[in-house]
């Protein structure tokens, strides 16, 4: 008997028991569906992380003064950077754009509205390094940078919170105890990893140091490697230079921290890949349970259809043909379950990513693998019941009540 007519027979048998067949396949539906949804969701999350880092500037490095071990086992913050350090990196390290960052968090007010936001004191290089765009108004003039003029450029969230629907350009904003002229507005960057990137004000560095913090400290140095793939080299150069400038001895640890976003991206991507694999593995367990469900129902079905098997044997079916029939039934069932599961999984992924605002990704390999695995589940878990059917004695089977 050819395979095709066996498949036709199996389909006929499944159609005769449509309701039960659906329930039988349900385990595989859920198993395949959850594997597909989990893996697709994991990949979507991974892509989002990559996209976020891309938006932040993939060649970006943050240089921060680190923590040092102090007496008594406590840890203290090490020496902050000076403007000379920024200058040294800009001139001493090849192929970089460097911007200082003196930051403080304070209250700003205009009219009867106020808000608390982060102020970054820096130079025009900051816009390039951080991938920011002045959407309205202008960037700083050289003179304003040099003098630490009280001018500021606002992020979109600050505009919304403090100006409501009013025009901010040319107005005087109150920042802490200082008055500050608004000369520009930044283009919106949206939120990134839960942080509102538009909740910010940019000012000349000296303005922040003199008027707001009262210190000459630089909290962060932002460095952007101009060429892709050079961030590791840039990082090494910066470390070498800063160790020398801070006169660290050979055996002393760095008292500053250079964070390479390319490195962070790689770490996050590998984390999300691990999470995806983990979720997929958990979902795969439910696929296994689905397979056991198929085996269970197929065993019941063999018992129920013992007489039918007896008739088939009597009219001349060979053991292998009975085996094939039940095996094909199990495979058809589980592949059908796989088909429905893939569909539900993709729909589920779509619903979840839309809710979470993530990109919609469907992994073709995963879909194909799910089909392969569900067919394999049918073969593996269908074999035992099919063998049981094929081994029946025709006389006993015909007498079965």
């Amino acid at each position: 008997m050819i395979l095709w007519s066996t498949i036709v027979l199996a389909l006929a048998a499944i159609r005769r028991n449509a309701g039960r067949s659906l329930l039988t396949a349900l385990g595989v539906v859920i198993g395949v569906g959850s594997v597909i949804a989990m893996v697709n969701l994991g990949q979507a999350a991974g892509q989002q992380v990559t996209a976020n880092i891309q938006a932040m500037g993939p060649n970006l490095l943050f240089v921060r003064p680190g923590m040092t071990a102090a007496a008594g086992g406590t840890r203290g913050e090490s020496i902050p950077f000076k403007p000379e350090d920024v200058e040294a990196i800009a001139t001493g390290v090849e192929g970089v754009v460097v911007a200082p960052g003196a930051t403080t968090t304070t209250t700003v007010a205009y009219g009867n509205l106020n808000a608390t936001t982060t102020i970054t004191g820096t130079t025009n290089e900051y816009f390039e390094v951080r991938n920011l765009e002045v959407a309205a108004g202008r960037a700083f003039e050289e003179r304003e940078i040099a003098n630490g003029a009280p001018v500021c450029i606002l992020g979109q969230t600050v505009v919304t919170n403090v100006y409501a629907s009013k025009e901010p350009l040319g107005t005087t904003l109150r920042i802490s105890a200082t008055s500050c002229q608004v000369i520009g507005v930044l283009a919106s960057k949206g939120s990134n990893m839960g942080q509102d990137q538009d909740d910010t004000i940019v000012m000349p560095m000296r303005a922040v140091q003199r008027r707001l913090t009262g210190k000459k400290d630089i909290a962060t140095i932002y460095v952007s490697a101009l060429e892709d793939g050079t961030s590791a080299r840039v990082k090494a150069d910066i470390i070498a230079m800063l160790r020398e400038r801070r006169a660290l001895r050979e055996e002393e640890a760095d008292d500053f921290d250079v964070r390479d976003m390319a490195e962070v991206a790689a770490t996050l991507e590998s984390t999300s890949a691990t999470m995806t694999a983990l979720l997929g593995a958990i979902a795969a367990v439910s696929l296994l349970v689905g397979g056991i469900g198929i085996m269970n129902i197929m065993l019941v079905s063999v018992t129920e259809r013992t007489r039918e098997i007896g008739v088939r044997l009597a009219i001349g079916a060979r053991a292998r043909e009975i085996l094939l029939q039940f095996l094909v039934e199990a495979v058809v069932l589980s592949v059908f379950g796989g088909l429905v599961g893939v569909t539900l999984g993709i729909v589920g992924t779509w619903i979840m990513v839309t809710q979470l605002g993530m990109p919609f990704v469907v992994s073709t390999q995963m879909v194909l693998a799910a089909f392969g695995v569900s067919a394999a589940v049918g073969v593996v878990f269908g074999y035992l019941p099919a063998r049981k059917a094929a081994r029946l004695d025709p006389i006993a089977a015909l007498r079965h009540e």
Binding site: M1, S5, G310, V311, R312, L313, A314, I315, G316, E321
Partner: protein
């Protein structure tokens, strides 16, 4: 489709049992269901097998139908020693030469009459169209040409048994084995089914071996074999009806 057992000689005696024993179980619980049976059935006979329950008649039918093999002695079907055949060879023998009708019809539920009748041809590898044609012919022959698409649940007992008979003869078997085919039927339908079997025997030359315990049915047979305690008690041939 080539013949499954190449040793078969179509000119040899159809069925030959020689000193056949069939023993179930081992040791103390041994049951000698058949205890030295010699029996020969020729082409075109309509044999009725009778006997009380436990007499060995069902065991004998199972052996004759190649569903079982003898513990001792030989059973030759068309000259071939059935006891030497593998399970699969027995299946092929049944597929190509034998037909079965059961007391409880044993039709596939929720499956149309015509699909039930097609089933044996599926295992023969007959193409779908030829299968359908042959099944319709067989159903016409048993008088159910108008009920092709009915499922067993939509048919009466007599009609179900006719579908079962159509299923048994659709392969044009040499021998038809019927195990109490009228056991679940009332007197009137019993008569109809018996007439049908007699017609198949007389007009189409199908050899029939049938188990029954209804004495009044022996009038349809050309020969009555009675079993008792695993042995043939009597073997009566009747004159062919005039």
């Amino acid at each position: 489709m080539t013949a499954p057992v190449t040793l078969l000689t179509e000119t040899a005696p159809l069925i030959q049992l020689e000193g056949v024993h069939r023993i179930y179980g081992e040791g103390d619980s041994t049951v000698r269901a058949l205890d030295g049976v010699d029996l020969e059935i020729g082409r075109g006979e309509f044999v009725m097998v009778m006997g009380s329950s436990g007499s060995g008649k069902s065991t004998c039918m199972n052996l004759l139908g190649c569903l079982d093999t003898p513990s001792a002695g030989t059973y030759r079907f068309l000259g071939v020693d059935v006891g030497q055949l593998s399970r699969d060879s027995l299946a092929l023998l049944r597929r190509h030469y034998l037909g079965f009708v059961f007391q409880s019809f044993n039709l596939l539920a929720r499956t149309s009459a015509v699909e039930n009748v097609e089933l044996p041809l599926v295992y023969r590898g007959t193409g779908a169209r030829k299968r359908r044609e042959a099944a319709i012919r067989a159903l016409d022959l048993v008088g159910l040409g108008a009920r092709l698409e009915h499922t067993p649940a939509q048919l009466s007992g007599g009609q179900q048994q006719r579908v079962a008979i159509a299923r048994a003869i659709v392969t044009e078997p040499m021998v038809l084995f019927a195990d109490e085919p009228t056991g679940n039927l009332d007197t009137e339908t019993t008569h109809e089914v018996m007439e049908l079997l007699r017609g198949l025997n007389r007009d189409r030359g199908i050899t029939i071996a049938m188990v029954t315990h209804e004495d009044e049915l022996t009038k349809f047979a050309s020969r009555v074999v009675t079993f008792r305690d695993g042995k043939v008690l009597s073997d009566v041939r009747k004159e062919p009806p005039a």
